[in-house]
Symmetry: C2
Subunit: 700 residues, 2 copies
Amino acid sequence: MQAGTLFYVVGPSGVGKDTLIDEAMKTLGPSGRYVQARRLITRPAGVGEDHEPVSVEAFEALRQEGRFLHHWQAHDLHYGLPIEIVGELEAGRNVLANGSRGAIPDLAGTVDRFVIVEITAPADVVRERLLARGRETPDEIERRLARAVHPLPQDRDVASLVNDTSLEEAVTRLVSILDRYATRLALRRMPIVSAPRHTAYLRQDSAIVDAPAFAGAGRIDITRDDCSVRADVALVEPSKLLRPDEIGLSREAFEALGLPAGALVSIARTPSPKSRTILRRKIAGERLDAGSYETLFGDIVEGRYPDGETAAFLLKAIQSLDADEAIAVAKARCRFGRRIDWGPDIVVDKHSLGGIPGSRITLIVVPIVAAAGLMMPKTSSRAITSAAGTADVMEALCRIDLDACEVARVVRATGGCVAWNGRLNHSVLDDVVNAITRPLALDSNTWSVASILSKKWTAGSTHVVIDMPFGPNAKLKTLEQARDLGRIFERVGAGLGMTVRAFATDGGNAIGNGIGPALELRDVMKILDGAPDAPADLREKALFFATEILSFSPDHANRAKARATAEEILRSGRAKKKLEEIAEAQGKCEPVLPGRFTHVVEAPADGTIGRVDGWHVAGIARRAGAPHDKSAGVNLVAATGQAVGAGEPLYTIHASDIACLERAASEAREQTGITLSSPDTPSSRHRFHPREVSQAPTAT
Amino acid sequence: MQAGTLFYVVGPSGVGKDTLIDEAMKTLGPSGRYVQARRLITRPAGVGEDHEPVSVEAFEALRQEGRFLHHWQAHDLHYGLPIEIVGELEAGRNVLANGSRGAIPDLAGTVDRFVIVEITAPADVVRERLLARGRETPDEIERRLARAVHPLPQDRDVASLVNDTSLEEAVTRLVSILDRYATRLALRRMPIVSAPRHTAYLRQDSAIVDAPAFAGAGRIDITRDDCSVRADVALVEPSKLLRPDEIGLSREAFEALGLPAGALVSIARTPSPKSRTILRRKIAGERLDAGSYETLFGDIVEGRYPDGETAAFLLKAIQSLDADEAIAVAKARCRFGRRIDWGPDIVVDKHSLGGIPGSRITLIVVPIVAAAGLMMPKTSSRAITSAAGTADVMEALCRIDLDACEVARVVRATGGCVAWNGRLNHSVLDDVVNAITRPLALDSNTWSVASILSKKWTAGSTHVVIDMPFGPNAKLKTLEQARDLGRIFERVGAGLGMTVRAFATDGGNAIGNGIGPALELRDVMKILDGAPDAPADLREKALFFATEILSFSPDHANRAKARATAEEILRSGRAKKKLEEIAEAQGKCEPVLPGRFTHVVEAPADGTIGRVDGWHVAGIARRAGAPHDKSAGVNLVAATGQAVGAGEPLYTIHASDIACLERAASEAREQTGITLSSPDTPSSRHRFHPREVSQAPTAT
């Protein structure tokens, strides 16, 4: 294996090759890692470049003895590169040879690491130098300048240098080019999976790079042309695992780089992030502007910071964030995506902070709003810890894992969609933030406002309503918390040029009867069908948000008229038709029905239904198989405030697997999740009752 | 390679072996990873344990056909373990065999992974079971109980189980023992250096453990007996790098574990730290007490937290730390070390926040104080970025890298010492904190108070003075900052039961003439010798702190008398004698003299010496070779306030290497580091002028 590189320097006479090589060797020679090859030429000493003069007879004898790595003929002279070059390359030394273009195709295959260094200069510069040298007449010089040159091979490494500046600068550039090529390593895929980290492996005794200098804390960038990957470094002791001229990459790093094994790559220490002064300003308690956040986020997402620094920055930023700075964060985030331009002046959206089981209003709101002529490209999440997310419920009806093009097609065709957000607006920054904030149990509500609204902005929304349930088991515990956060939503929205209206809603009770995809879809369908047993609270909440969204449009500025429109669209069946249309466009499937195995949970005593612990009941639904099994879930029969007798049903568990049903039933037997107060305690039926946060004038 | 383990279950009759094996197999069997070996016995079916009955003739035939892995004779019966066991082990399945102790020595060598499971029970329990079984008379049972048992081999893995509880509990324990041994992996040293991280490598297709379940974020503990190491996990694809029954460790991890290659080790996910709730309380802004800090520090130092969580916690703790909580931090830190008990009621110490070049008072204060009869076990640091630390200066005179025993010997013999702190009170927690706070440029002064004082406490000090230089280039910028921090020093000291007195001192100028080990030592010696050209500011500063320290003692309660004592000790030569005595005890070397090559830096114009930029001059001293070359440095000739004429000397650079001298001189030519004001500007000679921070009554 030859660890050394043969640099074959070509370029027309007068371009300054000899001088550049001589000067570069003054810099490179003392390291012992570079040597210059002296050519043997059948020309007397002292003429032209520094060479070994030999007679034609001696040249022929040497050739027959195999003493040349390569030899050629030009201008009636014989040229030869001595075979000793091979020994130098094998010893890990790089060789600079002054060469001729014509010899390249034959020569290139004779050594392992071959780089052509092409030196050029503008014609005027060359002419001047040749005239000054005085070896040729002006005519001969002009003929030389006009001579066509052999093209350089396409499949070889070519480093080009235009010698049109000072000698000192040109030498510096040449040395840097040589060093970059000389330290390239051959890529190898290691049979190691080091995820979530990328790891690069270097032989600690590499003859090509100073491997220990790259190890330790900090990362390196591995690059070739436009491909690049960043990795931690591990050193490999002399062993068969890796050759000294190779760089190994762990599986994912190799795949991320996307180059074939054996490709020659350059390595460099990942520079210390320029944004570190910004990061330190935040640590010291300063406010940052959008530009500073943008720079920092870029470096964080590109993995330029160790975890500790990222965590310290995020903690400080999140805990000190007020509405003004949240606008800066949101603006910075917006700059990482390209905003979708849907066309209409008003593109509406809705976001819920989540936390109440069964509150599946999106599947009612989107079709009402779209049927009224407003555009609503809605994306929703799947359940993480609950029994169903909006995406899970929609999936009981149609495809939801649309890509951006499919979303565009569906929305342009129908005016709305309910697509899974997992494929659409995934944020690497959010991944980093979540990985850090979750174990710390960090309250990051204000930070989330910036994240949520920047995504809405990028998705092209102009008008957004926010549903903020509050209650002991919701993200927001009190009405005050919800109101405070609502104001931040509205201010940050305004900062991004959007109209945002936030509403605090009761998050203490489940809404609707069904908990689990198919059962929640059944509730939705009952409302769209106007069925008499449709859950009134879910219908009311959906109508409330539909009305608020319609009011964004000047066509429905009168809230009472907007409400009437929403009710009419629902009553007339146009909403149902619109949902079917959207489902059809997304890719309709056979609707999933509630599971055929059922178990009725009964009231243990007479009483009045008090609190329905939505989280506990959702847990029972998950035991029954939700959300993975879309047919599984719980259907509430009794509602808050209602009187029940002992043995009367509280809810029904549905499952499509009998063992799952058993597990869920057994959990319900331990605790139903429903509080019964004694029959004589007065209690009122729960009603949907939103609290306006907005400062904007609204009808109440 | 057999990935399966042969569990050879032994124990006296009546101990419950058969029942335990049968019950354990009910739990283990369904996984497909365990099988039970049926023994062939020349005994009819239905008698005793579940076995394969064969005639004596058939047994002999099978034996001749090589159908036994092992066979033996006991109680006139022939026993055989079928050869099929080998196939099971090779297929990665673990085999449970009911065995006889006597067969162990021969059998153990026939399989790769052999574990003896010894089941015992108290004699009463066994007696009762045997009586209930009714196969033997009470006499026979007593004889059986009295029978001596073969001792188990020392060099084999033996897992013991005392079967004296409920069957259910015993089975659970047995299953857990089997699983732990069955999942042991053979240790392999990988030719990989992954420092600063430890990395463990598992084959992703391991037949022994579920390798992918151990990969990803989080670490594993690799243990055997009392040896343990914690590492990140990387998976290895099928390749020669690692066998499926092995665990590879990177070089440092392997060395840290300290076991030979091939040793069988257990692995387990590092448990989530129990202190995480405490960490979250700090993140949420709560104050923590000493006990909470102690728990958290323990988990941090043991590497139980990912870097991000540690960084977030430290940022929050450091930025919210007030004096009260600093006491809690200091107390928590004290609990990690054992306090040295020197004997006397008063053990004094001094700490300087550092930052002024040449301020080498320790080498004067320690001998004065020790000569006065107070005990002062002083440890000091080497230079990190300056031209000399106190330890470097002392090293120009004697050995400083003492261990704890040597320090004790020197202090008990002489009353004092000046030893390098690097070998004595190194703190892993400080390493973690520094690695995180430095890149963040975090102000951690209050945190440092807790760190400094807990180390003094552990070192056995009872009374400590703190020297806090302030100035534009010092750690503390203003007198106010110094005063605030000084109060925290005194309060935290009191919290630990120590008397601490802090003084703000002028950190704007270099003190003394020499900068660099040998030159600073020369200043010290001049003062101890009472030389007329001894630097007055250094002498004054040393006497001030010596006086304050002496005042701690009731013998010197009158500050004026303390001062007189200090001056008398200095004047009489007793201080010089004490320093010689200490140096002798530490191990005296040939004192290093200032370097013989010198270069005089001259005033470029007439003027008055203004500010001496100690940091710039120290930089020149480093160019000259300090602190590595102890003879190198700078000797200031002109002092602040003094008038100089153009061409008159400002300072002399000393070096023992002419090239170093050249480099230093060249840097001084660019910038001397000394400000000259025009001759008519009035300026006063700098005087040492400490500001008392203490609330305690002192003479001024």
